[in-house]
Symmetry: C2
Subunit: 195 residues, 2 copies
């Protein structure tokens, strides 16, 4: 039921993830939705977003907590998302972005959930930015996440992975220039050549 | 009616901009919606998005077609959006992003509309990037638009303008470093000091 909700949120945000749609997509009896989620749609949406927080967070960790140059990390993230988006015919994007843009007065409680998830993702990315001065890591992580979320939208609108691939490469390029020591961690391992 | 629709789209995407809501918000008689927009919700949404294309496009033009350094342009764009978002209590973002993330099977026609608008905005930005090599302008414009759209989402989720202000400054900084000649157009006007 949670996964069916998450899938619907990724497709079309809050509007597409009503209880009726969740029941239809998950083949769960209607009563069980309210049994497990007495808070109804908001509670079920929150559970689905938390699932995305874990899953996507793990993917950020896999990419950013490696000892690869920052440019490689950024380009990998965008390329992986491009492949995944292509794999679902550009129909499923970031559920947290979709919900954030759909919040209305009666779903205002979801704003804090979305904020918390974006925060935790920024922390995961920041923790993997060795070579970037500690005081700047959070800011760079925010820039990466913002560009990533925006490029996901441009790719969905174009129904091609080009915006993700190209924005990823552009961002990787300017970050490598700005943080050269974050771009070649291997240098420290010795074998550095001199003149 | 078009402006009421646009306002609703900016608030909560397609889900919030049904014919009923538009009628309620615009105080127009229900019959007149179908009179002017026989295509119903999709046609009305398209008209509202086209209105945003013009209005937002003009703001991009005002900022990017000045002879200021690229860093100033980027920081101004993000700061202006932060102020505007703060002015509406973080309830109204980019309608094109909101619609893109809400597209379902029955609103698939809107994808091409959104794509066209993002394209035209990228062209306007690219045309104002003097100092950036011609072949790279479109890519840099895409990076700016992607980061802008993503930062708008982070700011809405946080209900503060910080994500916009900080992502804007970070992006401005790395672009100024990457394109130093785009950062000081005044130099060409003479008075350049030597030694």
């Amino acid at each position: 039921m949670i996964l069916a909700t998450l899938d619907l949120l990724r497709q079309s945000g809050l509007s597409g993830a009503g209880i009726n749609q969740v029941v239809a997509a998950s083949a769960a009896p209607r009563g069980s939705v309210y049994h497990y989620f007495p808070g109804g749609k908001l509670e079920l949406t929150t559970a689905a977003l938390k699932e995305a927080e874990r899953g996507v967070g793990q993917r950020f960790r896999d990419i950013f907590h490696k000892s690869t140059p920052i440019a490689t990390k950024v380009a990998s993230l965008f390329a992986a998302a491009g492949n995944s988006l292509e794999g679902n015919q550009f129909t499923r994007g970031c559920p947290v972005a979709a919900v954030t843009l759909d919040i209305e007065r009666d779903s205002e409680d979801l704003r804090a959930v979305c904020r918390g998830i974006f925060d935790s993702w920024q922390e995961i990315i920041a923790a993997g930015l060795n070579g970037v001065p500690r005081a700047e890591r959070r800011g760079v992580a925010r820039l990466i996440l913002a560009t990533f979320e925006g490029a996901l939208i441009l790719s969905r609108a174009e129904a091609t992975k080009e915006p993700l691939l190209r924005a990823g490469k552009s961002l990787a390029g300017v970050l490598a220039l700005r943080f050269p020591t974050a771009s070649s961690p291997q240098r420290a391992k010795g074998g550095r050549r001199r003149g």
